[in-house]
Amino acid sequence: MLAPLGVAAAAGVAFWSMLDRMEQGTFDPHGVPNPLIGHTVPDFALPGLAPAEGFSGAELRAAAASRPVLVNFFASWCVPCVEEAQVLAGLHARGLPIWGVAYKDKPELAAGFVARGGSPYSRIGLDLPGQVAIDWGVTAVPESYVIGRDGIVQWRWVGPFDPGIVSLQLDPVLRRLA
């Protein structure tokens, strides 16, 4: 008699914690797991989006050796990218190096988007065919990655940043890597 009640209670607790994590933004039922986390940045080379310089996998790994780098895939045609622009500007102001990848974007439109409100990016690679994004396992823009020492991908965020995500998730990751 108690067994079905126990099963129902366990299911209820599991469901409640799932909803709670969805509300906090730590669980996305449509999320695609990324096998790149815990592994080294793949090899690639992207042309720059003037006036910013482009970058390669080796350059990114070298830059991350001294301090964590945030890699942000964006596009001028992506509305959530506009939403997170303010947050990225704030992170840039705090001194976090942000390297951007313009995903499937026309160079002139991407340049205009970045210039609007001041570019938060130290470097910008132009991924016109979107192949580098596929090598990273990107499913949509915006998507952001924290690269730690030895060029290892430490963390990924799918979707736009907001101040809550920064303080609850990004900051602890950066503190751990500092």
Partner: protein
């Protein structure tokens, strides 16, 4: 229902049924996407139909019209032409998107419950049937003399028949 109402209903049903008849067609809209060799194209379609579109998620990349699915279809075709085996093409996708990209996930510790849920359901059903049978299989005691007389009185039949 009036005649006009009937026609309206028939039209509505036809419109509702229409999408169901076209979903089986693959999403390749541009013939230039297809490989020249029919055998290679068939192989690419067969591989692509096992790979999940990461955008629509319940469709294969062959069925999906999403731009990312189109890019992944092109990659599958490039790798088929380059001489990769089916297994190698799927491994290339899994390396980037994890086992989630496979519409039919491999047997692993995390997918045990998924793969064996039909067996579990069968066992649960069997247990329910057995329990139910045990409960009803107890033979009720024969009627007492008083009950038999009551039954006869109700049915109007002579009581000596039993």
């Amino acid at each position: 229902m009036t005649k006009r109402g009937m026609i309206r209903l028939a039209t509505l049903l036809a419109v509702l049924a229409a999408p169901a008849s076209v979903t089986s067609a693959y999403a390749i809209s541009d013939p230039a996407e297809m490989l020249a060799s029919p055998a290679a194209e068939a192989r690419a379609e067969q591989i692509g139909s096992q790979l999940r579109c990461l955008v629509c998620q319940n469709e294969s990349i062959e069925d999906s019209g999403a731009p990312l699915a189109r890019d992944l279809r092109a990659i599958v075709r490039r790798r088929v032409v380059a001489g990769d085996s089916d297994r190698q093409v799927i491994a290339w996708m899994v390396a980037r998107y994890g086992n989630f990209v496979r519409l039919s996930p491999p047997l692993a510790l995390s997918t045990l419950l998924l793969w064996f849920s039909p067996v579990l359901a069968l066992l649960a059903g069997l247990a329910a049937v057995l329990l139910g049978r045990r409960r009803t299989s107890t033979v009720p005691p024969p009627l007492s003399e008083a009950e038999r007389a009551q039954l006869a009185a109700l049915s109007g039949a002579p009581s000596s028949r039993t």
